[in-house]
């Protein structure tokens, strides 16, 4: 890297830039005037610019706590954060320009933090957890996963990591409060699931409301703790004192939560008496001197935090979905719905999971021999603690009962059986069962997949997707299909009992995506009318197998788009 040229360029652009050396380490120094004083920014030489060139703030501690500046005390420099470096595309072919662009960003950042004290304070609070983690935490400090709700002052039971666990939930300390009863019993963090964990004491969850900036160093932690406790509103403080007075222990965990403009921040401390004997949690400076205190990293585990963080919606947690068909498409749908935040899933399938299903099904080999619905229930609940699953060993046609409407917001049928699906649809119509239904299926050879959403009392129904366009009769095959009817599309490896439709897990997944997307948008209230969605895949394999595609396939250009389901020739929709 030609730092001479870079320096010359910066000077030419009006920067006070010089090349220096510190203990044999060459660096580029740039001096800028900020608030009547000179600030030194330093860039240590590198061989290539694979990211924006970094500048460090010399003597960062002099400026106090600065937002987006992490003071590294042992070297006397502060690391300046100017955003996500990875997402910035750097002109490594013109390094002088890269340095100039980066330098100006660093200068702007430092200048704002130093000159605008109000903004600086807000940013310190907004990035509370980052600043907490950077300023006070060490890698060896305990990491606690906490299943708790926000804004509840309450007792917490803490368990040690499971012995020998190097990763996963089991490798963390686990904190459990009384407000986590909505977690599935099959989840690893379910209150009932503490097998293999030994108790690690008790503690408290303390809501703080609006936060102040975090301590700027680990040494300030004790003072910060006392200051924070004493700043609690009188009512909250007395509640805490009352709660604390009931328990004596030789260790305590205190987890705080507070509001920042970027959400609720969770963090905590672990306290241990310097001497022997059990005591109540210290709340005053005079008591704290007998305790050692260290910070803990807290990962809170409640649906209000975890669901939005993963893109799921809290508003779906009270929705109940009946999913019939837990095959390769249905299995994917179940996962997608749970991951989207659906609170209740009833999974229906009469089949047993077999080794043949392994590669295109979401279930793992441990569940071979189990009912697909049961296996899916277990796996969904294990990964998605706030989705309650019920499994039913049954077929679609066995569900023909009027009471079906009462319990579900949406029904999804993923069985790939046009006969059963039409029979069931007709049952719903004839019995005035007002249940929104999504029917979804994948076609063989990767040509595509489809989903229809039939919303009662809106235009369009499943039978619209079955109108035979050639004679406008009630067709037997869907008019959405991309492969023509009456072709030999199944394969078998072992005779008649082993017939299967060839498609990949990707095809099943794509189909599940359109059905899941339809489900979520409908349950969110953004789809008022019955509609249909298809995805169109490649026809190479189908053509190789000598199969014919439909006109719809050949002209279709609306993959993933929601199209009206209504067909003016559907006699179900036009019999008024």
């Amino acid at each position: 890297m030609d730092y001479e040229a870079i320096t010359q360029h910066l000077v030419k652009q009006g920067y006070q830039a010089t090349l220096e050396e510190l203990d044999g380490v060459p660096y580029l120094k740039v001096t800028v005037d900020v608030s009547d004083s000179s600030v030194e920014l330093v860039h240590f030489h590198v061989n290539e610019f694979s990211a924006l060139p970094e500048f460090w703030l010399k003597n960062a501690a002099v400026y106090g706590a600065l937002a987006h500046v992490l003071n590294i005390e042992r070297i006397g420099y502060g690391h300046i954060c100017i955003g996500d470096r990875d997402s910035i595309s750097v002109n490594f072919e013109q390094p002088h320009l890269a340095v100039e662009a980066s330098l100006q960003r660093h200068i702007d950042q430092v200048r704002q933090s130093i000159e605008d004290s109000e903004w600086n304070k807000q940013e310190l609070v907004r990035e509370f957890i980052t600043n907490w983690n950077n300023a006070v935490l060490k890698p060896s400090d305990p990491q606690l996963i906490l299943a708790a709700k926000e804004r509840h002052l309450e007792l917490m039971h803490v368990f040690n990591p499971r012995k020998g666990s190097g990763y996963g939930y089991a490798s963390f300390y686990l904190g459990i409060t009384d407000h986590v009863s909505d977690i599935s019993e099959f989840s690893s963090i379910a209150p009932t699931n503490t097998d293999g964990r030994s108790p690690a004491g008790e503690g408290y969850v303390v809501p703080l409301g609006a936060l102040s900036p975090p301590p700027v160093s680990r040494d300030e932690l004790a003072n910060w703790y006392i200051s924070t406790i004493s700043s609690l509103p009188p009512g909250e403080l007395s509640k805490l004192e009352k709660l604390v007075s009931r328990r004596r222990s030789n260790r305590f965990w205190v987890v705080f939560n507070g509001d920042t403009t970027s959400g609720t921040a969770w963090f905590g401390v672990h306290l241990k008496p310097k001497g022997k004997g059990k005591r109540t949690l210290p709340l005053k400076a005079s008591n704290l001197s007998e305790w050692s205190i260290k910070p803990i990293q807290v990962t809170v585990f409640n649906k209000e935090r975890i669901l939005p963080r993963g893109g799921a919606k809290i508003s779906l947690s009270d929705k109940s979905v009946l999913l019939v068909g837990c095959g390769s498409v249905g299995g994917e749908i179940a996962y997608k719905l749970a991951a989207s935040g659906i609170g209740k899933l009833t999974l229906v399938d009469p089949d047993v999971y077999s080794l043949d299903n392994l590669y295109r099904h979401v279930l793992d080999e441990r569940l071979i021999g189990a009912g697909k619905a049961l296996g899916l229930s277990l796996m969904i609940e294990s990964k998605h603690p706030w989705t309650k699953c019920t499994h039913v060993n049954s077929r679609l046609l066995d569900l023909r009962g009027k009471e079906i409407r009462k319990n579900f917001d949406l029904m999804i049928v993923a069985i790939g059986s046009p006969t059963h699906e039409r029979l069931f649809h007709d049952f719903l119509v004839e019995n005035n069962v007002s249940l929104p239904v999504i029917n979804t299926w994948v076609e063989g050879y990767g040509v595509g997949g489809h989903a229809t959403l039939d919303i009662p009392r809106s235009k369009g129904c499943l039978r619209c997707a079955y109108v035979d366009h050639s004679d406008l009769s009630r067709g037997l095959a869907s008019n959405l299909n991309f492969l023509e009817s009456n072709q030999d599309v199944t394969l078998n490896h072992a005779g008649c009992g082993d017939l299967f439709l060839p498609y990949s897990t990707l095809n099943a997944g794509q189909t599940a995506l359109i059905a899941s997307d339809l489900s979520i948008h409908f349950l969110n209230g953004s789809i008022p009318e019955s509609c249909k969605v298809s995805w169109k895949g490649d026809d190479t394999e189908a053509l190789k197998a000598g199969l014919r595609t439909t006109h719809r396939y050949q002209v279709f250009q609306k993959s993933l788009m929601r199209l009206p389901l209504y067909d003016e020739h559907c006699d179900f929709c036009n019999n008024d």
Partner: protein, 345 residues
């Protein structure tokens, strides 16, 4: 009722096929006569090696005609090695040994075939006789009293013509549905001919000529969902028929129509048409095109229907209030007992 429903109902009314109920007795008669022909040819020393329906039945373009006989074109094929040199001889066997003995009126040996009417069944029957060598067919030409020069076996391709008409290889996806639309368009045109022309002209506008023109000019019309649009397909076909060089200007705005058979022997189909036939055909096609264009542009379904009823006559469904439900149409079930699908999950 939508316009497509009306077209399909119209098609139901005019369609004639071997499977048609109305045609059941004629079909039984045909089977029975064919059986007698086979016996008579066997006795004569040239057994029938093949027989097949040709003409509009085979091409799926047959239409019913009020007050007219049902037509049957039954080709009988004998082996060239056994066939008599005299091409008229087997035709006389059919006429004398089978048809007359069975009570057919007006049984005659005509140049291309043996023809007869079975009055009680409204059946008009044509028996072309072919001899076959390898895959090549030759048609028995000549009638009673024809001189040697008018009696011969002439190269023909009866199956080639049928295959050409029913060919769907160029239609892309949903080819079955598209060729079905072609059959309907051909039937609409033939039904229109029967409605709009005097019997004298009508007789000269051969069905095979209209079918060949339609086939050459037809392009399937479906929307992106695969829904056929017969009105637009018919209009496009008619437009193309008018601009494809079939009508040859004879001066003074008179025309003759000229269409070549698309297979062996590639002869002129309208070999004996005159200016009057050609001009009327062209003028009425022009009128049809205008009316179909008007119908497409018309937003009021009732008025649209009236335009079409004027074109096609009483067989086209009545133009009741468009909003009035047609229960008989609305309870239509699939005609197949089962259909294999590509649906899975």
């Amino acid at each position: 009722m939508t316009i497509q429903q009306r077209f399909l109902k119209f098609h139901d009314a005019i369609k004639l096929s071997r499977e048609d109920d109305a045609y059941k007795k004629a079909r039984e008669k045909d089977d029975s006569v064919t059986s007698d022909v086979k016996k008579a040819f066997h006795d004569a020393g040239y057994p029938v090696i093949e027989d097949f329906i040709q003409g509009s039945f085979a091409m799926h373009t047959g239409v019913k005609r009020k007050g007219e006989d049902f037509d049957i074109d039954r080709a009988v094929v004998i082996d060239s090695e056994n066939a008599p040199d005299d091409s008229v001889k087997p035709k006389i066997v059919i006429c004398d040994e089978v048809l007359e003995k069975r009570g057919f009126k007006n049984a005659q040996v005509k140049t291309p075939c043996v023809t007869a009417d079975y009055a009680s069944e409204n059946l008009h029957i044509d028996y072309p006789v072919y001899r076959k060598s390898g895959g090549a067919y030759e048609l028995a030409i000549g009638k009673r009293g024809s001189g040697e020069a008018q009696r011969y076996w002439d190269r023909a391709d009866p199956k080639g013509l049928k295959n050409w008409v029913v060919d769907k290889s160029g239609y892309g996806g949903s080819a079955d549905a598209k060729v079905q639309q072609f059959y309907r368009v051909a039937r609409y045109l033939k039904s229109w001919r029967n409605e709009k022309f005097s019997s004298d002209i009508c007789r000269k506008l051969y069905s095979i000529g209209i079918t060949v023109m339609a086939k050459q000019c037809f392009y399937p019309v479906m929307d992106d969902e695969g829904r056929p649009n017969d009105l637009t397909a018919l209009k496009n076909t008619v437009s193309a028929m008018l601009t494809s060089g079939y009508f040859i200007n004879q001066g003074d705005e008179t025309y003759v129509v000229s269409v070549t058979l698309p297979v062996t022997p590639y002869r002129e189909i309208f070999h004996n048409n005159c200016k009057n036939t050609g001009s009327q055909f062209k003028n009425k096609l022009e009128s049809m095109k205008r009316k179909l264009t008007d119908a497409i542009a018309e937003e009021d379904e009732k008025k649209q229907c009236e335009i079409l009823k004027d074109l096609f006559g009483d067989d086209f469904p009545d133009c009741e209030d468009a909003k009035k439900a047609d229960i008989s149409d609305k309870r239509r079930f699939a005609t197949a007992g089962a259909v294999g699908t590509s649906q899975g999950a």
